[in-house]
């Protein structure tokens, strides 16, 4: 099996970093000098035990405050699989960093303190996880050691989450009771919870099937860069470099190029290592086409009978990330979608999501930091997109404030039109 990317989520102090530390520790993925250093820091900070959260909380400010501020990436491997972990912050102020860490995840671990159940922040993260359409979610009911490893308590939190999740779209949902601090059900099944019949977290991560999460149907190749060597041997060479973000392209396939609408045939699929007969996501390849067509960065290569939507009007969910600026109708921003950069004007802000109840608050004036709402945008040039639910690559975008160059929103396309 290939790579699995997963992220942590959940309220502040519910044990995300501790869990990652425990997972690394129990899989022997921690080096001796790292351990020595966090032991020394733990003693210095007056902890009674080695604080495994220090493995990911590496910034000075994080250690001073005892919280995670920004995403830490960690890596480990078992004989079965390689893992990329994004440990994200629970604090509401840093929600955008949670979105950063989970945007590319195959799976999200949502931690909940078994003593307290869900908080507003758990709900916010659960909602974001479903908005980002993370295909797999594991709810880790943590700190079971503080509630006598009680099955009823676990069931109560599970029920609470399930009730909330009914309003969300989470295709694959699993619950595991655990103690991140002591390692119960992290790497192996805990003797303290005989009543729990499921797998340990690690076992679950190792076995998870992700191959079908990718869209292998809609062939999409956004042109990223045009390769023109202009040197002797390759004088007339013209190749379209990019990353396949959906479907499969084969040599000989008839293709359609947007925005021109012209058609051509895949003459070859090339790489430094030689030609390949087919290309699929996420391969980074160079495509050559028959005929002489003018194609440049930002164009989209697809199949004539299966094209993305092409429109200057997109309906989207906006996750606002600026503390300095509010998102409001009439606002102009830069947009980056796929390999295309353009500008947008906010045509309409339809509603804001109340993260407590998931109710829609209609026609709000604006979205503030960490608020989520639905808006229609008008772009200066047509975008070639799919709904995010069909394709995470062609269905996502970022918005950039042109004055400060800050990334101010994550956008998810839910449709076209005004």
């Amino acid at each position: 099996m290939g790579l699995l990317r997963f992220a942590t989520a959940g309220s502040v102090d519910d044990g995300k970093s501790t869990l990652i530390g425990r997972l690394l520790y129990d899989t022997k993925s921690i080096f001796q000098d790292q351990l020595d250093s966090i032991e020394a820091t733990s003693i210095q900070m007056g902890n009674d035990y080695t604080n495994l959260a220090l493995l990911t909380d590496g910034l000075r400010a994080e250690r001073e405050q005892g919280i995670t501020i920004d995403v830490a990436y960690r890596y480990f491997a078992t004989p079965k699989r390689k893992f990329i972990i994004a440990d994200t912050p629970g604090h509401v102020q840093y929600t955008r960093n949670m979105v950063t860490g989970s945007s590319r995840a195959d799976l999200v671990l949502i931690l909940i303190d078994g003593r307290h159940g869900m908080t507003e922040q758990t709900r916010r993260h659960a909602f974001l996880t479903s908005l980002l359409r993370i295909p797999h979610v594991v709810v880790c009911v943590n700190k079971m050691d503080l509630i006598d490893y009680d099955e009823q308590a676990f069931e109560a939190v599970k029920k609470e989450f399930q009730n909330f999740a009914m309003k969300l779209e989470i295709p694959d949902l699993t619950f595991i009771p655990m103690s991140a601090l002591h390692g119960d059900n992290v790497v192996s099944r805990s003797p303290n919870m005989e009543w729990y019949q499921g797998s340990s977290l690690l076992h679950h991560l190792e076995q998870l099937h992700t191959a079908s999460d990718r869209n292998h149907i809609d062939a999409r190749f956004p042109v990223q860069y045009v390769i023109r060597p202009q040197s002797g041997e390759y004088h007339d060479y013209r190749g379209y470099a990019g990353t396949v973000v959906g479907g499969v392209f084969k040599v000989g396939d008839e293709v359609l190029i947007l925005p021109s609408g012209l058609t051509s045939t895949v003459a070859s699929l090339e790489s430094f290592d030689g030609p390949v007969s087919e290309a699929f996501g996420p391969m980074a390849i160079t495509m050559r086409l028959t005929g002489d067509i003018d194609i440049s960065r930002g164009d989209m290569i697809c199949r004539p009978n299966n094209r993305p939507q092409s429109s200057r009007y997109v309906q989207s969910m906006i996750c606002w990330m600026s503390e300095k600026l509010e998102f409001e109708p009439g606002m102009k921003l830069a947009i980056k979608h796929s390999t295309k950069s353009s500008r947008v004007i906010v045509a309409d802000l339809q509603y804001r999501i109340n993260l407590e109840t998931l109710h829609r608050e209609m026609n709000p004036d604006s979205l503030a930091l960490n608020e989520i709402g639905r808006a229609s945008l008008q772009t200066t040039e047509p975008l070639f997109f799919d709904e995010y639910r069909r394709n995470r690559n062609t269905g996502s975008f970022i918005l950039i404030d042109e004055a400060t160059n800050a990334t101010v929103a994550a956008g998810i396309i839910v449709g076209s039109g005004v």
Partner: protein, 304 residues
């Protein structure tokens, strides 16, 4: 064919992600440049860049921040590699910065030019008006690096602000900057040391011979074997002896430690690296061991 067959191995996935980043930068920036040290990570970077633009040449120059304290084997190797690629090499010299009075050489037995390179690097960026600099840093190397974005924004002073990094969503990178600012780009952020070695083996990337076990005149300092060279002043107690060692990382001769090793082939190196209980920087970099937050502090000043 079943759909599940369309899956890439982990090395292919990492390679594709890195190539995507190289191309994105070449497409969006005006004056990118690749920082090259001659070490394994920068060799993997060069290899990935060659793949990204093949059959064209690299659309950017290579820069080496020459501390003047390099391993001679590595300098020689650097020139061969660059010539073979037909790439353009720029050298920014720390000695020059010292001669120009921009920085002052440290003194004492632990003097190092590690910190001085920051000035040389930032001056070179300003001189050449680079807007994007590729670096071979990996997130598994160090705890501050584990927090850094792939596109790491640097202000007018070249500083990294870890408390206010731009959100980085999906693989949509925001490369917008104002004049005088730049972005450090880390295409192999998600690679581990073992990934790098496995890739070197798979791709048959040629590496400097000091990565393989050899006999060398060394002395012990702070639990590390340092090469006896004109760049370090030994104290009386620091006796030179010959040991069979290899380098796990390549930095300055004055502060890069060697490890005891019998690994003479890439296979043996992979075995050794897979079994080790100490991180590469912890084992071999005197500059990182000085304090708990030395990397974070240096990065805030503009370090690689």
């Amino acid at each position: 064919m079943s759909i599940t067959a369309y899956e890439l191995s982990h090395l292919d996935t990492l390679e594709a992600e890195s190539i995507h980043i190289f191309r994105e930068v070449a497409a969006e920036f005006e004056r990118p440049c690749l920082m090259f040290s001659g070490g394994k990570d920068s060799l993997v970077m060069l290899h990935l860049a060659s793949k990204a633009f093949w059959p064209a040449r690299l659309p950017f120059p290579i820069i080496h921040i020459d501390t003047g304290h390099n391993f001679p084997e590595v300098l020689e190797f650097r020139d061969q590699v660059i010539e073979k690629l037909g790439a353009r090499l720029l050298v920014a010299s720390v000695q020059q910065s010292i001669d120009d009075g921009k920085v002052v050489e440290e003194t004492g037995p632990r003097a190092s030019r590690n910190r001085l390179q920051i000035t040389t690097l930032l001056d070179a960026i300003e001189e050449h008006r680079f807007d994007a600099l590729f670096g071979g840093a990996r997130r598994d190397e160090e705890k501050a690096r584990s927090k850094e974005r792939v596109y790491s924004f640097r202000d007018n002073f070249g500083q990294w602000n870890p408390k206010n990094q731009r959100p980085e969503l999906w693989n949509l990178y925001n490369g917008r900057i104002n004049q005088g600012e730049h972005i450090r780009i880390f295409p192999i952020s998600n690679w581990t040391e073992v990934d790098v070695w496995q890739y070197i083996r798979r791709e048959k990337i040629v590496i400097p011979n000091i990565y393989f076990a050899h006999n060398r005149q060394v002395f012990s300092r702070d639990g590390m074997w340092l090469a006896d060279s004109e760049y370090v002043t030994r104290t009386e107690d620091e006796k030179v002896l010959t040991r069979k060692i290899r380098y796990r990382t390549i930095g300055d001769m004055s502060c890069t430690g060697a490890v005891d090793s019998d690994a003479e082939t890439i296979e043996q190196i992979i075995e050794e690296v897979s079994a080790t209980r100490i991180t590469e920087r912890g084992e071999t970099r005197a500059d990182d061991i000085t304090s708990e937050t030395s990397m974070e502090d240096r990065k805030k000043e503009g370090y690689f």
